[in-house]
């Protein structure tokens, strides 16, 4: 357990010291959400209808944004080799990195989402469900992002390819997340999709570390 906490602590410290890198996804989220009304229309009806989808797409894209650095900086300065060669399980270390990534990119997203939701005229009663749905979905997005980062870390410029690889895999999260939010907007209980989001999170968090570790070991050769 202390290996996990040391790794988590290390990555959080690094994130705090390079906060500019990690503020980018949050700002991206806000900017994308703000651009949509220009593209759609400022009318209440149009924005309310489109709001759920826009928020979730923006959340998806910004979660994928800062993740190239997830493994690349470690590869470049040689610390990834040391992680591989250490007695700790690489899967556990990757899991700790995913958690750190979530704290830095997912958590701020969840906190700012209600503000953006209100800007899309979504009713205030739906906000808790929206936040809870994001709480369940963002770990999955971080896990998938980690897989994408691990697969492309051996490439010189993997950034753009990551999105292509990972976005099709995020379709279920998008489907259930928007469904949960929509049901909340209409005042229904969103328990079903929320359960499914939780299941997806559990599934991806347990398998992503293994896949990422395998890909990293190949890339470090």
């Amino acid at each position: 357990m202390s290996v996990f906490t040391s790794m988590l602590e290390r990555d959080l410290k690094l994130a705090m010291r390079r906060w500019s890198e990690f503020a980018t996804p949050l700002i991206f989220f806000v900017i994308i959400s703000s651009l949509f009304p220009f593209a759609l229309s400022p009318e209440v009806g149009a924005l309310r209808a489109a709001g759920t989808g826009v928020l979730w797409i923006a959340a998806l894209l910004s979660s994928l944004l800062a993740l190239d650095g997830l493994f690349r900086t470690d590869m470049d300065d040689g610390s990834m080799e040391q992680l591989i060669l250490s007695p700790a399980s690489l899967g556990l270390l990757v899991f700790a990195k995913i958690c750190a990534h979530w704290v830095v990119s997912g958590l701020p997203l969840i906190l700012i989402a209600p503000v953006l939701a209100l800007s899309f005229y979504l009713p205030a009663e739906s906000l808790p469900t929206l936040m809870f749905a994001l709480l369940l979905a963002t770990p999955t997005l971080s896990a998938l992002a980690a897989i994408g980062a691990a697969l492309t870390v051996g490439l010189r410029s993997g950034g753009t390819l990551i999105g292509l690889l990972v976005l099709p895999l995020t379709a279920p999260v998008l489907i259930f997340g928007t469904r949960a939010t929509d049901m909340a907007v209409h005042g229904e209980s969103a328990l079903g999709p929320l359960y499914l989001l939780g299941a997806l999170a559990a599934f991806s968090l347990s398998l992503a570390p293994l896949a990422s570790a395998a890909a990293i070991r190949v890339s470090v050769e």
Binding site: V3, S6, R10, D77, E81, Q82, L83, L85, P87, E221
Partner: protein, 251 residues
């Protein structure tokens, strides 16, 4: 593409006179095969019994190019192997193969009868590898880097004493990105020192180090070998360490 067998190998056994040559191929000690004991008592200074690094008929290729083939030697505990050769000969690639980070294109490398690629999966961790790059996080302080390394490897050590030994007391609490190249190299060696490993794989450990730093590395190697550990060092400056070497691999 040198083929290594009996040619190009100079062996100076420990304590033996310089002019006596021993073949690169290993002559087994009579029935002594010390087994590796996963003894991470936490104190890196305790005596550890080492296993043998067995390199069998290894061929290394980088991409499509074959660098060398037929490398064959056994490194017993208490022995040092030096890897020398010009740039591009494959020293770093060989060191990474010995560490288990990559597979040789032919042959096998095993430590204590366990293939090193499995060791690299973290099943046991008797190997400490220090590569070209420092392996330090630039945004963390020296102290934090050392502490993380210690936490990861379950080893412990006196940080303060280590900092003194490394001559890093003034910059102990400074982020690595503000350090000079020599200081970074010493910090990296400090991290390595904290690992309770029996086999040390050092790739050019003396780069950027002044005489004092080089002396420190030599002293550590001596102590490590005396405790029963073994080491493989790739270096451009073999004269500093040649006296101690049992096996020299010239690529």
């Amino acid at each position: 593409m040198a083929s290594l067998g009996q040619t190009g190998a100079e062996v100076n056994a420990l304590g033996r006179p310089e002019n006596e040559r021993t073949c690169l191929h290993y002559r087994p000690l009579q029935g002594q095969w010390p087994r590796y004991s996963a003894d991470h008592s936490g104190c890196p200074l305790s005596h550890v019994s080492g296993a043998t690094l067995a390199v069998k008929n290894v061929e290394i290729a980088r991409g499509e190019r074959r660098l060398f083939a037929g490398l064959d030697f056994n490194l017993a505990s208490g022995q040092l192997a030096l890897v020398t050769g010009p740039n591009g000969a494959g020293k770093t690639t060989l060191m990474r193969t010995l560490a288990g980070l990559r597979m040789p294109s032919a042959g096998s490398v095993s430590y204590g009868d366990v293939p090193v690629s499995r060791i690299a999966r973290g099943l046991t961790a008797p190997i400490a590898f220090q590569g070209h790059v420092d392996g330090l996080k630039k945004d963390l302080t020296v102290a934090e880097n050392l502490a993380f390394s210690a936490a990861l490897w379950g080893g412990e050590g006196e940080m303060g004493a280590l900092a003194g030994e490394l001559d890093l007391e003034d910059c102990f609490a400074r982020q690595v990105r503000f350090l000079s190249a020599g200081q970074r190299r010493r910090a990296a060696l400090g991290c390595m020192r904290l690992r309770p490993a029996t086999l040390w794989l050092l790739d050019e450990p003396l780069t950027n180090l002044d005489t004092r730093g080089a002396g420190l590395v030599a002293a550590w190697l001596d102590a490590h070998l005396e405790r029963g550990g073994s080491a493989v060092v790739a270096t451009h400056q073999p004269d500093k360490l040649a006296g101690r070497a049992a096996i020299e691999v010239d690529l």
